[in-house]
């Protein structure tokens, strides 16, 4: 399961905030939203590739979590539980939109900022041309991921972003281990095909 960000020393533990939420304390929930919104938004953004829709879905995930909190038994970390809700919200949305990776390239789904790749480029040490190349590569990777089917995008995000093990991916989706491996294989093959020119031109 996605690793929870351990609260800094002095921060109120998630479990305490959850208990306060279960007693109806919306301020405690606000603290949890602030703590995890960046990670939940990142997941929805990577899945949807659209800032506005990702923003809305992240909100929807938190609202659903609030509604479900009375039934949360604290038998897993709050973030793991929240992540699964967010994942379901996002995947349901994608399925409803019937976005198919095999279809034509859709520019509207890749309206991500040019800086999306650049944000992850190590700052400071890179020469400007290296940073630019990294930013361009980041953009191309985003565009390639936008062309994957929802199922393939899903396993890439769960594996590469959240770093989940196969069994955890299978439990999250849910599906068999064989399906996880199969989807990962074909998702990566598709990415390889889409990014081949990019890598060839870079060398």
């Amino acid at each position: 399961m996605p690793a929870s960000t351990a609260p800094d020393s002095g921060e109120v533990p998630d479990s305490d905030l959850v208990k306060r939420c279960q007693a109806g304390d919306t301020r405690a929930f606000d603290a949890l939203v602030s703590r995890y919104r960046g990670r939940i938004y990142a997941m929805t953004y990577h899945m949807i590739q659209n800032e506005t829709e990702a923003w809305d879905l992240a909100q929807e995930a938190f609202i659903k979590a609030w509604r479900a909190l009375p039934r949360f038994k604290l038998d897993s970390s709050f973030y793991t539980w929240l992540y699964r809700i967010a994942h379901n919200v996002t995947y349901d949305y994608l399925r409803k939109k019937k976005i198919q990776g095999d279809g034509e390239f859709d520019d509207s789904r890749t309206e991500h900022k040019a800086a999306a790749g650049a944000e992850t480029v190590p700052h400071g040490d890179d020469a400007p041309d290296t940073a630019l190349k990294n930013a361009e590569l980041g953009q191309r990777i985003h565009a390639a991921i936008a062309q994957l089917s929802p199922e393939h995008r899903q396993v890439i995000v769960l594996r590469e972003v959240e770093g989940l093990q196969y069994e955890e991916i299978a439990a999250t989706i849910p599906c068999s281990l064989g399906t996880v491996m199969s989807r990962l294989f074909y998702a990566r093959k598709k990415l390889q095909e889409l990014l081949k020119d990019t890598y060839e031109n870079a060398t």
Partner: protein, 215 residues
């Protein structure tokens, strides 16, 4: 040609899901199969780049607004379905996201800039009823009408200069009541230096409290 289990081997090798024995066997295969080795190296590099391009955490645009809108929705849910606001599920802050709101805000600024004085009577149900209006600029004609269906009061200002279509709200700040989370005042900052203070009425509709030009 690779068989499905061989495909899985490559994937499991990439993801570190192999046992020590499997890893040893696969590494030996890589040494003898140059095509497989080339593909494995490409995939390895690509996966590393994908991880770099997809950060696990991203700054949420308008993070404070993100939180405040959730709080508004939670409060609405807490108030319950018995509320007279049935059907108004969306937050009043959703108005910020409508292009028409920017125009409405710009109109409000124009009202103040033109020196129009509007006398409003606090109404029982929150509608803004305009009883009288006064425009010191004689060229400006003020009229108003109410739409019960739209729950809106519309001000018509004839004679004002055209409002730039590119007027933008570039920032905002929300002050929330500590006693009642439903109560909040939002300050909007326009790109032209205008400042608007907005709150809501009992129908959860935006109400302009104050407006000023800072430059």
């Amino acid at each position: 040609m690779k068989t499905p289990p061989e495909d899985h081997d490559l994937i499991r090798w990439l993801d570190g899901e192999m046992s020590a024995t499997e890893l040893e066997r696969f590494t030996a295969r890589l040494e003898t199969d140059s095509a497989l080795k080339a593909e494995a190296e490409f995939m390895q590099r690509m996966c590393a780049d994908v991880r770099s391009a997809l950060p696990a955490e991203m700054p949420v645009p308008y993070g404070d607004f993100f939180n405040s809108q959730i709080q508004v929705r939670l409060t609405q849910e807490t108030v319950g379905s018995s509320s007279v606001l049935t059907g108004e599920r969306a937050s009043w802050l959703d108005w910020f996201r409508l292009p028409s709101f920017v125009t409405a805000a710009a109109v409000a600024v124009a009202v103040v800039t033109a020196g129009v004085m509007i006398v409003r009577q606090p109404s029982e149900v929150g509608n803004s009823l305009v009883l009288s209006s006064y425009a010191p600029n004689g060229k400006v004609q003020v009229s108003s009408y109410q739409s019960a269906e739209a729950q809106a009061t519309v001000l018509v200002l004839d004679g004002l200069e055209a409002i730039p279509a590119d007027r933008k709200i570039v920032g905002y700040h929300i002050d929330r009541s500590e006693m009642n989370t439903e109560m909040a005042a939002t300050t909007l900052y326009g790109s032209g230096g205008e400042v608007l203070v907005v709150s809501t009425d009992s129908r959860n509709q935006p109400r302009l409290l104050a407006a000023a030009m800072t430059r």
